[in-house]
Amino acid sequence: MSAPTPEIRAVSRRLPGGGRIDRSTSFELTVDGVPVAAHPGDTVASALLASGRTHVGTSLYRSRPRGIVSAGVEEPNALIRVRESGSVAESMLPATAVPATDGLEVETLSGRGRLDPGPDTDLYDKKYVHTDVLVIGAGPAGLAAAAEAAATDARVILLDEQTEVGGSLLAGGETVDGRPGIDWVDDVRRDLASRPEATVLTHTTAFGSYDGNFVIALENREAASRAPGQRAAGVSRQRVWHIRARQVVIATGAHERPLVFANNDRPGVMLSSAVRSYVGRYGVAVGARVVVATTNDSAYATVSALQGAGIEVAAVADSRASLSAAASAARQDGVRVLTGTAVVDTVEAGDGTGRVAGAVLGALTPEGTLTGETMAVDCDTVAVSGGWSPVVHLHSQRQGTLVWSDRLAAFVPDQAVDAQQVVGAARGDYLSADIVSRARAVGAAAAARAGWGDAPEPVDSEPTGDGDTRPLWLVPSVAGEDQWENHFIDLQRDSTVSDVLRATGAGLRSVELVKRYTTLSTANDQGKTSAVNAIGVIAGILAGGGGADVSMGDVGTTTFRAPYTPVAFTALAGRERGELFDPARLTSIQEWHVEHGAVFEDVGQWKRPRYYPQGDEDMDAAVNRECLAARTNVAFQDVTTLGKIEIWGKDAPEFLGRIYTNGFKKLVTGKGRYGIMCTADGMVFDDGVSLRLEDDRYFMTTTTGGAARVLDWLEEWLQTEWPDLDVHCTSVTEQWSAIAVVGPRAREVVAKVAPDLDVSQDAFKFMEFRTTTLASGIPARICRISFNGELSFEINVAGWYGRSAWEEVAAAGAEFDITPYGTESMHVMRAEKGLIIVGQDTDGTVTPYDAGMGWVVSKPKDCIGKRSFSRADQEREGRKQLVGLFPVDKSFRLPEGAQLVEKGTPITPEEGPVPMIGHVTSSYFSSNLGRSFALALIKGGHSRLGDIVTAPVNGILMDVEITDSVFYDKEGTKRDG
């Protein structure tokens, strides 16, 4: 933020009449704390100018006074932070595009914004629509194209970033079909409004164009409501439109270019078209005495507008050697037109404001050098037109090609993108009559292409432009050949011709490199006014002032990328924030966990209780208590989140045999089996227990995080390789709730909960399951599955009975002091048994053999991945293998992910790089073992049991012993209670 420069000219510059503002209503906004009067229809910039203020924040790097330059989104200088009542403050908006509203708080910025620290409580939403024809831009070209397309009854969407349709016609002075342009605009607007399939969105900027004619646009609905702060409840502040169009018509117009002369950044130097727009559209005289500097005919419309408003035109410096028709007409009207002349410098006002007080004019030779004496002309405004740059951003975002036109002095679209057309000034047609006639043909053709009407394809034609242009990329310096410090190319970045000279002097030739070296065109306006001038300067410098001929086309443009204008993240997020950002999956038992103080962890999208602290327990204390309960008494866990897939069909046994490394054909109905599945390269992919429910029906469980991936995997193989198999897979994860009851006294609890079931060891063996009815009447499937080596039952009930069954277990277990436990205790206990977690102890490079689980690979049958087990790489020495670790210091817990090195390896930077031999995959403190322990992948680990290696951890060299990976109950005596 910058203190505003004192402004002496605090007089109203509002013209007595004219413009599109509603003079019957007045209100005030504040700019840097100063009240500024405005009318509906004003922008912040037009209100400022009307109040007599041209100055905005000083420049970012050089703190030079700066003024309003443009009347649109291309503005490089007039950046503001605004706060509308009830909304969050937004930074780095161009004052030239922000509608003035009652009570708006505006702060001018010096090229750097400030985030509002407060929360943004406004609503933002998205809309997804399809259309036959999308027309982007509602100037003369867009209106004409949309009207013709809509006349066929095609579905048409017309977007425009401005507050109303009309584009350049809003500045007045033009005619269409022999009538005032504004009247024609009103007719088209009414016509489109009467067509039910036509949608016209103002305040809506198409900012990104993607494959398949997918266009994304931002609608500012607050501004559209014209009653800021009074939006109805539930109405979003901004909306992102996702538009899929059969045909796109780009009618985005053109941006006028400034001229690069000495001190071209003084407040009061303004684009010629902007001067005209402020006079004609906003009824504001930007100055009292104007010098016009131009390279083309378009500035003469500004001359007429100024004269019509009674504003003095001190001189017109026209770079072209001879008088054009428009220039002649101006001269006949008494305007002092100087041909072959350029503004070469500006004079600073003597009042300390830095504002322009005069223009220095110089005559140009045909080669572009200065000749004769320069001449100073007093003025308070310099209106500049360096030519026009078609707004080709959306065309280029789709890799639409551009070609340099010397005649137009512009990059214009070359080949149209498939199912797109470019019309109007965006293609280089600058005269209303040319624009409208071609746009009509294009609009009708777009509808026909989309299946509406039978209009012919428009005939190929060159863009018509508007007379001759003599571009001045590099206006000579009066001060001397090496004086380029104040020839500004990018006003927002304070980048000058000097900067480009430094870049080319460093040997850079590519425009992409010069851009990055100088930061030219990298500000938030993305070089809308500066990019082509920069290319001109580069070409001029590379040509070396004669000799080599480096054309603009040779230099080429930088890459156009979305967004065309800045878009707030909050708009892109829409309603997908907070709880809706990544919806959480909750089990039906979730609320019980919350009520009992569980601390949760995210597992995929699931929320799982990690531990249940009691009193002031920390995690370690809670986990110790929970593990002790599960190992010595009884505990229970919500295991609903495990993935569950039903697999049906007469070929289901064969199918599972191919998917899992071990066989499932011979598995008896009523029993379950643990299985591992591998990818074709032989790496462990997922694991879990599958139950055989019937001959042709299995119930597969997967890891919590792997459920969707496994279903995808099964379906892929069934559809792409084995369509002959009669197998169907259905996800039933959400259909079942599951409760693990674990510990030496688990049998007593389950006996109470399921009184109809004989839970004795003889009647109900490990890896069997039974269907029964719980005491409460809930139907259940109970399995004897263990993930920690203890006697364990898993009670499965329909999802909606989850909490009820859980509470039933809690009540039955109360007399045994049953303890709920979370994932952390589960992890500790499974690691004590050396049971892997896929994705934690494996990482896509680990085979079942590497994991020490070769027993799970069936010898007689084939399966996915089995061929890979006999690849030479599997026999390689030094494959990383899963082992256990005991830190020598029994209280030291290794961090998971810690690297392991051979004992005695120097680990100083000088001795590096340090050879790593493995890493820690799981690490815990075990209350059962009375010490810390870990699992690790270590090169050749299976043959190194008993070796000591070292883990460097935060400056400590911790020696660890390599051990077997089963730490607890190696004989498996606990499993049956």
Partner: protein, 98 residues
Amino acid sequence: MLLIDCPYCGPRNENEFTYGGQAHVPYPEDPYELTDEAWGQYLFYRDNQQGEYAERWAHAAGCRRWFNAIRDTRTYQFLAVYSMGAGRPELAFEGGTR
């Protein structure tokens, strides 16, 4: 966002689909007859060509069915979609399927 013509559901947004890599790379009849090198070719090597490319897609957030497509990798334009198991079609036409 590509518009992909699912042969079973019609044109849908790209983000409903998952990509399955090069098409017509069948699982070898008998992997054990292959040398390690040939098996490695099946596992790890795919064409990366410029132009018309036959590839697999799955309509994961729709009908969940797999299909093949021919897409021009230079323009991203889909030139044909066809069912799994069908042979690669000859493209006698120019332009897209929609």
